[in-house]
C-alpha cells in the first residue's frame, strides 16, 4: 500500500515544484502549501504503515500494545502542521504587502525595482 501513497507524494511534490516556478506570487504560495502537504505525508510514511491502531496505552495497561502505529512521525507531523500554518500566514501577508507597495503580482517586476 506504500506504492499508492508514494505516487501521491510524487504528484504533490511535482505540483509544488511546478507552482513554485511560476511568476505569479499567488501561485508561489499555493506551491508552498503543496510542498508542506507532500512533506508531511513523506514524514508520516517514514514510520511503518503496517500497524494501524492509534498510539495510545490502553486503560489498565502500562505499556502500549505491539499493534499501535509509530507515534514519532505523528508527533513530528503535528508540529510541522502548526508551524506550516505560521509560515503560510507570514508568506500570505508578505505577498499582500508586496502587492501593496509594488502594484503587481508578477515576481519578475521585483528585480527591476
Amino acid at each position: 500500500m506504500e506504492i499508492i501513497l508514494a505516487i501521491v507524494i510524487g504528484v504533490l511534490y511535482a505540483a509544488g515544484v511546478y507552482l513554485l516556478l511560476r511568476r505569479s506570487i499567488v501561485k508561489l504560495i499555493l506551491g508552498l502549501i503543496f510542498f508542506s502537504h507532500a512533506t508531511n505525508l513523506l514524514v508520516f510514511l517514514a514510520g511503518s504503515l503496517s500497524k494501524v491502531s492509534p498510539p495510545f496505552v490502553q486503560e489498565g495497561q502500562k505499556v502500549a500494545q505491539a499493534s499501535v502505529a509509530d507515534p514519532l512521525p505523528q508527533a513530528l507531523v503535528l508540529t510541522s502542521l502548526v508551524i506550516g500554518f505560521g509560515i503560510t500566514a507570514f508568506a500570505l501577508v508578505l505577498i499582500y504587502r508586496f502587492y501593496q507597495s509594488s502594484g503587481t503580482v508578477d515576481f519578475d517586476q521585483l528585480k527591476e525595482d
Binding site: 492509534p54 495510545f56 503535528l78 502548526v82 500554518f85 505560521g86 500566514a89 500570505l92 501577508v93 499582500y96
Partner: protein, 141 residues
C-alpha cells in the same frame, strides 16, 4: 461598516464561542490521556474567537478575550519556561518531567505534572499566535 453577514451566522458565532471554548479546555485537560492536547485545544479555542471576529469584527472579538493577544502569547511562553524551570529548582536538568498526585475529597485523585503545565503553555501560546495573525489580517481594509 455595514453587516455583510447574515444574522444566522452571527447568532451561531455568538452561541458557538463559549461552547467551543469550553470544549477546547476539555480537550486540553484530557489531552495527555486521550486524543487532544495543547495544539488541538489552542486551535479550537482560537477558532471560536476567529469565528466571532468574522461574524462581527476583530475589535469586538478582542473585547471578549480575557487577555490581549500579545499577553496570551507572552503568558504562554512564560508558562512553558516556568514548567521547564521547575525541575531546575529541584536540582534536575531543564525540562525533567515532575509529577504529583493530589488527593481530592470523595476519593478522587488528580494527577498533575509539569508536562501538563507545559501543554497549558502551548495552548495559550497557540491561541495567542493564531489570534494575533488572524485578527491583524481581518483588520486589513
Amino acid at each position: 461598516m455595514s453587516n455583510p453577514y447574515s444574522n444566522i451566522f452571527r447568532i451561531a458565532a455568538t452561541k458557538l464561542r463559549p461552547l467551543l471554548f469550553i470544549l477546547s479546555l476539555i480537550v486540553l485537560y484530557r489531552g495527555h490521556q486521550q486524543p487532544g492536547g495543547g495544539f488541538i485545544g489552542g486551535l479550537m479555542a482560537a477558532s471560536a474567537y476567529i469565528l466571532y471576529a468574522l461574524a462581527f469584527n476583530s475589535a469586538e472579538a478582542r473585547r471578549k478575550l480575557p487577555l490581549s493577544t500579545s499577553a496570551l502569547l507572552g503568558t504562554g511562553l512564560a508558562v512553558i519556561l516556568v514548567s521547564g524551570l521547575l525541575s531546575v529548582l529541584a536540582g534536575e536538568p531543564f525540562m525533567t518531567g515532575m509529577w504529583t498526585t493530589l488527593h481530592l475529597p470523595f476519593g478522587q485523585e488528580l494527577h498533575l505534572g509539569t508536562p501538563v503545565l507545559f501543554d497549558a503553555g502551548v495552548y495559550l501560546a497557540v491561541i495567542g499566535v493564531l489570534l494575533t495573525i488572524m485578527f491583524d489580517i481581518i483588520d486589513i481594509e
